[in-house]
Symmetry: C2
Subunit: 224 residues, 2 copies
């Protein structure tokens, strides 16, 4: 199958690219710039695709982010909360309707380019915080993509029931160069090690029983 | 209710604004620029809102349109087909996943601004050509918006079962200034009178038994 893969430059979608290619599919990576604070990840995404020999396309959604007030990820006035994703303050990181918007935009391009499917890296750990990562929402969007055009588009979410640790294990098995991925929500020089995203990444590698390869180059990462 | 209304500057969404305001709702118009050929309608939209005393916000979705090849509405290389919407060549006017994209983007802003609902002007005549105007698709998106955030957002499509003639009749009853709306897909100086959109508008006013008010100022319109 020809599959368009939403690729943020982070570890989940990086593993997804390798996972789908390993299964013999043609993968077409696409990034979505919705004005996110951590757009640093987008530069990592391009570099990552280059080492895979893939053309990376970036979809700018213009100034949509400037309308999305109240989320730490799209509103510069809201600081990124620190701590574990399970904490109540992590809801500040919810960007309203982010996944529907990313899926809709990437799905439009997937249809225009004749892809059979669209894939994204939502996983089981996501949906305690993010309403648009819940299985109910994913199932509805799956049906939406079967009906949004005359030709149905499949929505693939292979990590839907996986923990982040399982994703890390799969990526290590496939030799994903995690040192070329970016996870931190802050978007500083080095990962902050304090945001929910850094905390969760550290947990994933602990669960997989491996050191984060990014640690070889980025010493500010307080993992293991 | 506070309702965000997707407003293109055309007659359906103009009537929708009046229809919802007539029912006592607070309406918040939003336009979506996805690189459409007929972006002339967006200037009309601003002017239309001004006369209603409403602030018009326009959401630029950047260069997403440049990725959407193959549709006459987003790809300058594809000419706008002429004739009736029912004709097979009108499928050239389908912009891949246009409605999901517009709904997703406007829905994100609606959530960020604390709206209770999101409304758009799809009607019964649309879905012979546009897959994403079909009742099945609308119902799926309705469920998606009830599940995309911790707070459900209602999706309102009051004209879903109406013909365009019924919309014209409702608009005439409410005094919608149709001379301030733009319908033509070509985006020239005056409406072309030949595209599916012009043909359908002419039919609507014939069905309503009224002259198109736009005819008072634009004589190139071959109506009645």
């Amino acid at each position: 199958m020809k599959i368009m893969v939403i690729f943020s430059g982070g570890m989940d979608s990086a593993t997804l690219l390798y996972h789908l290619r390993d299964k013999g599919h043609e993968v077409v990576p696409i990034g979505v710039d919705y004005g996110q604070r951590h757009r640093k990840e987008l530069g990592y995404a391009r570099q990552f695709c280059e080492q895979m020999g893939l053309h990376y396309r970036l979809l700018h959604l213009g100034q949509v982010g400037s309308f999305l007030k109240g989320s730490s990820q799209s509103d510069a006035a809201v600081p990124v909360p620190h701590g574990h994703y399970a904490a109540e303050n992590m809801k500040l990181t919810v960007v309203p309707n982010r996944n529907m918007l990313m899926l809709a935009a990437a799905g439009a391009v997937a249809l225009a380019e004749g892809c059979d499917a669209l894939a994204y890296g939502a996983h089981a750990g996501d949906h305690t915080i993010y309403p648009d990562c819940r299985p109910t929402f994913i199932q509805i969007m799956r049906e939406a993509f079967l009906n949004c055009d005359w030709k149905p588009l499949q929505l693939l979410v292979p990590f839907q029931d996986w923990t982040k640790g399982m994703i890390a294990r799969e990526g290590i098995r496939l030799g994903v160069p995690y040192e070329l991925t970016w996870t931190c929500y802050e978007g500083g020089e080095v990962p902050c090690g304090l945001c929910g995203s850094c905390t969760e990444r550290a947990e994933a590698f602990r669960e997989a029983g491996q050191a984060d390869p990014a640690l070889r180059t980025v010493v500010a990462y307080p993992v293991i």
